[in-house]
């Protein structure tokens, strides 16, 4: 349903340098699947999400969403795409026009893409909002009169208005409190059940949330996917040192943090993420990697290695790490 | 760094060319006949025609613009009908006076504006804050020519505290011209009395001229200080136990001064424009008075020259401001 093929997205800067936000990403989402995309800040997750909807032009590669070719698409194709693929952003407050009522914002997509008007439109909007748990009384409120969770529900209603086949969720809960996050996550889970054919790309840096919601997960580092596979597989048996470090760092609500996961002995990382302007040569992770070897990792860009059923990792030593 | 300055200078030159287009267009929409104007009231028709040909006024407009620009580059700014002298000479006489006045005025505005702004911010909503803000709003709203007149008549004539007009007393010797700025020249010549006198002459016009800038500086500085004082790094500094003197005087001020600096640059330009009003009131022989007189005499070459000169001065000021910005703010410096 959503396919990225060797996607590259580069942003030229005023100084003449180039930010390689996405640098050769291949990812295929089957219909009905929810795939998590995790990685540190700046690794290019949002850029992929926006590019999938044609909101950012791709530098090279291909994107197919809902059966449409997004890269280099005509205006008409893009318009068709709008009703097939939708996106929900991280900050619900910023993604609603402060001067529009909630119902007006939710109606936007319907006005633009359907002939619904007047009473019918109003009823449809009310129905949509009711479905995400916002009763009548919120219809004519302005965004700042709603709580964060309520706003995010409105955003979800807006995205669902057009019955999209593909839904990109860009950290939909990271601006929310845990209790509100739980509400939204629950709702999304129910949505999965209610609409089994909908494909979702779930962007997050919260591993726990990904584990809860996704069937598959892809781990990004500096514009590249370093590991990808079924959620349980990747969490229980990670094959890339970066994934391991990420899992080791994930705080778990446990009294004894040492007892949190099956694999506690992963090395924690030192140092900072390199700038995406001058990505290190070879494996982008080698500057922080505990197992990196000179002459290999800083020279050769690792290829994807299959390490299990539908499980791949881009590390020269992915197969060796299995034992660990 | 120097590459940046060069780039900016090139941009400034380009902007000046654009400005020349604007002024040239403005001057040539004038309904009058420039040859006729230049010839003077008693001139015969032949004299007018001769001047027309001499000045190339019979040529098509684009060609004339080309001539105008090439003349500009050789420093020939034309001749003023009103003073009968080459504009370049007039400018050389009047520009230093104006620069001196405006520099003095902006100094006044800065020296008083920043502390007042800080004081108002620190004492937010206290009586002194209200008083300072009243000064600030009035400064913007008072017509400076009117204020100048009132100051002149009250302080200079009624109370006889200041000289009425001009740059120096009648019998004071003009200091030997080096920069053309009397105060500077007087200091260079070691003549303190002349220096003091020149300063006294500038005080009232500078006061009238600086009030709007003072007001603007107070407002911006106050707002910035208020904002900065609420910033996290100030909270952190306080949490570290650093005293209010250092927090206000260094930690907050250095951050707040940056937007104020931009405002100062803007105001410097406006002040240059304001001299048109204030120099007339105080009969201060500068470029503003020159422009005002030229304007009421439809004397275009001086106006064009003044516009270009002020534009150039303004752009250079902004360049300096940007460099100051870089000097004060390491983030900006990093981008250079």
């Amino acid at each position: 349903m959503l396919e990225l093929d060797d996607l590259r997205i580069h942003f030229p800067l005023a100084s003449g340098e180039v930010v390689k936000a996405v640098d050769g990403v291949t990812l295929k989402l089957a219909a009905g699947e929810t795939v998590g995309l995790v990685g540190e800040s700046g690794s290019g997750k949002s850029t992929i999400g926006k590019a999938a909807l044609g909101l950012i032009p791709a530098t090279s590669g291909a994107i197919r969403a809902g059966g449409e070719d997004v890269v280099g698409a005509s205006a008409a194709t893009l318009r068709r795409l709008r009703s097939r693929a939708q996106i929900i952003f991280q900050d619900p407050h910023a993604s609603l026009n402060p001067r529009m009522t909630i119902s007006r914002s939710v109606a936007e997509g319907l006005i633009l893409n359907t002939p619904l008007r007047g009473r019918a439109l109003r009823e449809r909007v009310a129905e949509l909002l009711a479905r995400v748990g916002l009763p009548e009384q919120f219809l004519n409120r302005f965004p700042h009169e709603l709580s964060g969770g309520q706003k995010q529900r409105a955003c979800i209603a807006r995205a669902l208005a057009l019955d999209p086949e593909v839904l990109v969720l860009d950290e939909p809960t990271s601006a929310l409190d845990v209790s509100v996050q739980a509400q939204i996550l629950t709702f999304l889970k129910e949505l999965q059940a209610a609409r089994p054919s909908m494909t979702s790309l779930f962007i997050s840096h919260n591993l726990a949330v990904v584990r809860f919601l996704c069937q598959r997960v892809a781990v990004m580092y500096l514009g590249r996917i370093v590991e990808e596979g079924p959620v349980a597989e990747v969490f229980e048996n990670p094959r890339h040192p970066y994934t391991r470090a990420l899992l080791a760092a994930a705080p778990a609500p446990e009294a004894n943090p040492r007892a949190k996961g099956p694999r506690v002995d992963y090395v924690e990382l030192t140092g900072d993420i390199p700038s995406p302007v001058n990505t290190p040569p070879g494996c982008a992770f080698h500057t922080r990697c505990p197992v990196a070897r000179k002459g290999i990792c800083d020279v050769d860009r690792p290829a994807d290695l299959d390490v299990g059923p539908r499980h791949r990792a881009a590390c020269h030593f992915a197969r060796d790490l299995e034992a660990a | 760094m120097s590459r940046l300055i060069l780039k900016r200078l090139a941009l400034t030159a380009l902007m000046l060319l654009g400005l020349a287009v604007v002024t040239f267009t403005v001057a040539n929409i004038a309904p009058g006949d420039p040859a006729r104007l230049a010839a003077g009231p008693d001139a015969t028709q032949e004299m007018v025609e001769r001047i027309r040909v001499e000045r190339g006024l019979d040529q098509p407009l684009p060609l004339r613009f080309a001539y105008y620009v090439s003349d500009l580059l050789t420093g020939d700014l034309g001749t003023s009908v009103y003073t009968g002298r080459p504009v370049a000479e007039d400018m050389a006489t009047f520009l230093p006076a104006t620069l001196e006045l405006v520099l003095f005025a902006i100094t006044l505005a800065i020296v008083f504006g920043i502390p007042l702004g800080v004081a108002a911010a620190v004492r937010q909503n206290k009586a002194s804050d209200h008083l300072i803000r009243l000064i600030a709003v009035s400064g913007v709203a008072l017509p400076m020519f009117w204020l100048g007149l009132m100051l002149q008549w009250y302080l200079a004539l009624e109370l006889d505290l200041f000289p009425l007009r001009g740059r120096l007393g009648v019998f004071s010797d003009v200091p030997p011209t080096i920069t053309g700025m009397y105060t500077v020249d007087a200091l260079l010549a070691g003549r303190l009395d002349t220096f003091a006198e020149a300063l006294r002459h500038m005080l009232l016009p500078a006061l009238a001229l600086s009030l709007p800038a003072l007001a603007a500086i107070i407002r911006v500085n106050r707002a910035e200080m208020l904002e900065v004082l609420g910033r996290d790094y100030v909270v952190n500094a306080r949490a570290q136990g650093i005293g209010p003197g250092r927090i206000i005087g260094a930690y907050a001020l250095k951050n707040a001064i940056l937007p104020t600096l931009a405002m100062i640059g803007l105001r410097f330009g406006w002040m240059l424009g304001g001299t048109v009003l204030v120099e007339g009131v105080f009969d201060f022989p500068g470029i503003g008075l020159y422009a005002a007189k030229a304007a009421v005499s439809s004397d275009f070459e001086p106006i064009m020259a003044v516009t270009l000169a002020l534009g150039a001065a303004f752009m250079l000021t902004n360049l300096v401001i940007d460099l100051l910005y870089a000097a004060l703010d390491p983030r900006v410096r990093a981008q250079i």
């Binding site: - | 006729r36 028709q45 007009r165 019998f171 003009v174 007339g280 009969d283 009421v296």
Partner: protein, 503 residues
Amino acid sequence: VEKVDGKFWMVIGGRQAVSHVDPGQSYDYAIRMMTQALYDGLVKYEGDPPQVKPWLAESWETSEDGLTWTFHLAQNATFHNGDPVTAEAVVYSYQRVLNMNEGVAWMLSDVLKPENIKAVDAHTVEFTLDRPYAPFLSFLPWWFVVNPAQVEANVVDGDFGKAWLATNEAGSGPYTLEKFDQGTAYWLKRNPDYWKGFPYEDDAMGGIIYRLIRESSSQRASLLKGEADLVTDLTPEELDAVGARNEIEITSTPALTSFGFKMNTQGQHMSDVNLRKAVAYAFDYDSLIKIYNGQAKLQDSPFTDAIRGHVDVEGIPRQDLEKAKEYLAKSAWPEGGITLEFVYVQGLEQQRQMGLALLDSLKALNIELEMVPLTWPNMVARAADPAQSPDLMCIFATPVSTDPDAVAIQYHPSSHGKYYGSHFLDDAELNAMIMEARSLSEWSEREPIYAQIQARIVELQPEVFGMMRNRSFAHRDWVKGYADSPIRMTGEVDLYPLHIQAP
């Protein structure tokens, strides 16, 4: 006033900058005031009524046919650098101006060829005119003699020494140029060795500073504070106010200047003589006097009082609404209902007030007035073309000589295109009379013709004849020797006799 090295320096506060001090280039009152002090002419105007007095020339005679004029120069006259003033210098100076064809050249250029000026001997100059020209002598006071040696030494690229003479002098006059501080002050040092001496005994007079004070209120303040000793161009109210003070004297003498609202006799409205008359009878003339607080006198002829041959013309219009309406009824707009354009000099407060007075008066005729202030150069430009010249135009006109021809010629087509010719009057009868009168040299023959001319002009009503404004100056009481002459330009003062008596 200030004592510098034991001598008094007098400060004159004037409004007009001195753009240069070259007697050959353009002139205005400030330039003339300076050149008059730095240079000598063959003759000089003095007194009231103004008379042409011998100066460098001690005597002169005219040939029978009125074509040749011979001048005998004073023997003792010297330039400031010590060179004697010779006939050669006079020839050089006149030829320079005629060849440059700038400034005062227009006064003589159509009757005098440069090659017809000859030095007969060291102290005799001879001018041969192309045709008899009675007013010839009356123009000579504005022609000054420069030192050829100094000028020639400073000629650059055949510029007649213009650049150098702009800020330097090469004269023989009572003052030398001490300092030329453009836009601020101009210092004239008294030349104690002036060949003609001074009309006062006192040797304490050091010099005169002409200080630029651009606003009348500042001028007045400077006078009150003693920063200036003599000021020009005060408003009538200011004159009254300062005159009330003991330490200040004001002088107010009639000027040669005439004033009128020139009407465009070739324009859409004003070509109708009845409308012109209607406007002339509707105007409230007394307001002119009131505007000047009494320091003015109504004109009773197109010629002002100081012009030779002036007569009071009977029937010159005064306000009479009955008559105004009668004339209006005869015009093309018997009901009024038109708007006339009234152009005046921007910033001249009195002209603005006159405009308001006219506007008020014309309401009685149901005529509206659109007041348009223009800069002087723009006004001059509009006055050059009958199609553009406005219905009414405020014009002060100061003739450069007291000869009646200087005024009469303003109503002749040869003046069309000049600001004072903005009425575009073209009357065959009048034209003939003007041409005849200027070619005669006997005053007794000319006089009756000029009386007729004045009457004819009034009849044609090319303008609303206004008033003669007094020339008014205010000075501190220690300023002595002030002598006015109506011939001088608006703010011009004869510096020669001025001196200071120790306060």
